[in-house]
């Protein structure tokens, strides 16, 4: 009898702990998460100018910086983050696994590049089996772009999968500059710009070459739950995002000044980077189809259910 009681007790405690999480309720705090890099500049502008705070009375806005997409995805699943920014492939992987979320808007298009210091590597074909390629993680946009290029050139999307090293962008840049652990680094601004300024480091492959066209690098995403329970905040957020994007495009000098507070770079440098050819801030979403078709073909996603209406809250933001 005593045994039975202690057993029941254990079960109650166990299920009590578990039931603590995951309730669907109206919140007073909205959490927005992004990552490191100049592609997220409009978010930093929005935060700095308090655009969102000014239009949402009584709602606290919390800004989080997470180290990688997987962390953002997990935080959104746990209900810790309401709006997250990420690249299209990790969004699609989540969608494919049943994550109830859709794209709010595009944020930026950006030059991405596979960089190397080795003179004798000019194309992908020159990369030998011993060379190591650093990128943020498998399933990241950098990985998917590399797989796209590998499929086009060698008919094998997984050709480089055995030589990947996962490194956050800053670590990858340091590793490439010291020319020791890795041969090549697939990265984004400002790292790709910094690396290209180093004597002897050159680009093997650009993001556009890999995909065969233009694509949105970063998009904003929110869960169904947030979209339905906070329609007013949603529309205020979309407006604020629009204003920030417009601000960067119209006043790059001022924007660069604000951004010096967020990056360890001078104002001129930031201005040069945010107006770099190919660095475009826009709410349009591009490249979705190309990613979906490739990722289905290469078995990164299984689901056939990838209609535009399933992927975007506002379908007319999609531009082919």
């Amino acid at each position: 009898m005593r045994k039975l009681i202690s057993l029941l007790l254990a079960i109650t405690i166990f299920s009590g702990i578990l039931s603590g999480c995951g309730a669907n309720r109206k919140k007073n705090t909205i959490t927005i998460a992004d990552q490191y890099g100049l592609a997220y500049a409009p978010i930093q502008i929005m935060k700095d100018k308090n655009t969102l705070e000014n239009q949402t009375d009584g709602i606290r806005i919390e800004w989080k910086k997470l180290a990688n997409t997987a962390a953002i995805r997990e935080a959104m699943l746990a209900g810790e983050v309401d709006i997250g920014f990420m690249a299209i492939p990790p969004f699609l992987i989540g969608k494919d696994k049943g994550m109830p979320w859709k794209i709010i808007s595009g944020l930026s298009m950006s030059p991405l590049g596979l960089m190397t210091y080795k003179e004798d590597i000019q194309t992908l074909a020159d990369i030998s089996d011993d060379d190591r390629i650093a990128l943020p993680q498998p399933g990241s946009i950098q990985h998917i772009l590399l797989a796209m290029a590998a499929e086009r050139e060698f008919g094998d999307a997984g050709r480089f999968d055995d030589q990947l090293v996962t490194m956050a962008h800053p670590d990858g840049m340091n590793a490439l500059l010291t020319r020791k652990e890795i041969t090549a680094h697939f990265t984004s601004p400002p790292y790709v710009f910094k690396e290209s300024r180093d004597e002897g480091i050159h680009q093997i492959l650009s993001g556009q070459e890999a995909l065969g066209g233009e694509f949105s690098f970063i998009v904003g995403v929110c869960t169904e739950d947030f979209y339905q329970s906070h329609p007013e905040i949603y529309s205020v957020f979309v407006q604020a995002l629009d204003q920030s994007i417009g601000f960067i495009n119209n006043n790059p000098d001022l924007a660069a000044g604000i951004l010096t507070g967020y990056y360890d770079l001078s104002q001129e440098e930031i201005k040069q980077y945010i107006t770099w050819p190919g660095m475009v801030y826009s709410d349009k979403v591009r490249g979705l189809d190309e990613f979906i078709i490739f990722m289905q073909r290469a078995n990164y996603i299984d689901s056939e259910n990838m209609e535009l209406t399933q992927l975007l809250w506002e379908v007319d933001l999609y531009e082919k």
């Binding site: 039931s19 997987a70 696994k97 498998p138 399933g139 030589q163 652990e181």
Partner: protein, 257 residues
């Protein structure tokens, strides 16, 4: 007694699994957060059969085995030297005092610079995790051998080498086994953490990498199947390998009941 222990283990595991599945069936949580045991089992069997998990498991086991063997050899040499020489003893003490409290993961940035990303780096971390507890235990073991054993050996005119092999080794075996157990547990943890930090090295990244990969592709049943394999290996090594060795040696010799 043994069978009883096994039955208890199985009983609790089945009960926990049942609770898990009931919580899943209750539908309180999205399967993205709390996957069904059936999904987890399915993924586990799939990735064992298609070789994905098996290959990573073998990689992890081979690397930990290498690390253990190297550490064992180093530890025996260091402890024997310390037993017979005062200078070596003070060196060993200092080394242990410096290195023993250092978690292997804290050394990771240095190890990356010294060895780069790869096998050597992980082996280094494993040796670091195993060597110091082993040295500590072996030293205690040697010094707790009753002097009379040695005297008996000398009486039989055994050489120093013979005394080491025939008297010191078996007499200190209980301590060696304890050291190995601690070392194994620490190495196993260090290995998984190190693998999760590193990328795949020539297609094999080990169990830690397998879990990391499942995580980035948002495959929770996959993450769980990796964790289950880690648990199973842990139990197998503890309950079977170490217990069997103890039964055949120190228990048989009456050194441990």
């Amino acid at each position: 007694m043994r069978n009883n222990k096994l039955i208890h283990r199985v009983f609790w595991i089945i009960l926990l699994a049942l609770i898990w599945q009931i919580i899943f069936w209750s539908g309180r949580f999205s399967p993205l957060v709390f996957p069904s045991l059936l999904d987890i089992g399915g993924t586990l069997i799939d990735s064992l059969l298609n070789g994905e998990l098996t290959q990573q498991l073998l990689f992890s086991l081979s690397i930990i085995f290498q690390g253990l063997v190297i550490s064992l050899v180093l530890a025996v040499f260091l402890s024997l030297a310390a037993h017979f020489s005062e200078i070596a003893a003070s060196l060993a003490d200092t080394l242990v005092a410096i290195a023993h409290p250092l978690p292997g993961i804290a050394l990771m940035p240095l190890v990356l610079i010294w060895f780069g990303v790869g096998r050597q780096a992980i082996i280094f971390i494993i040796i670091h995790s195993v060597l110091w507890p082993l040295v500590l235990n072996l030293r205690t073991g040697f010094s707790s051998i009753p002097e009379i054993y040695n005297l008996v050996g000398k009486n039989y005119a055994l050489s120093r080498m013979q005394r080491m092999i025939q008297i010191m080794a078996p007499a200190s075996l209980p301590y060696l086994l304890v050291g190995l157990k601690i070392g194994w547990a620490r190495a196993w943890r260090a290995l998984i953490s190190a693998e999760m930090l590193f990328g795949a090295v020539s297609s094999s990244g080990g169990l830690g990498w397998y879990i990391f990969q499942k995580r980035v592709f948002f495959d929770l049943p996959g993450v769980f199947s990796g964790i289950i394999v880690i648990v199973i290996i842990g139990i197998l090594v503890e309950d079977f390998i170490f217990d069997k060795i103890e039964e055949r040696t120190i228990k048989k010799w009456g050194m441990k009941s």
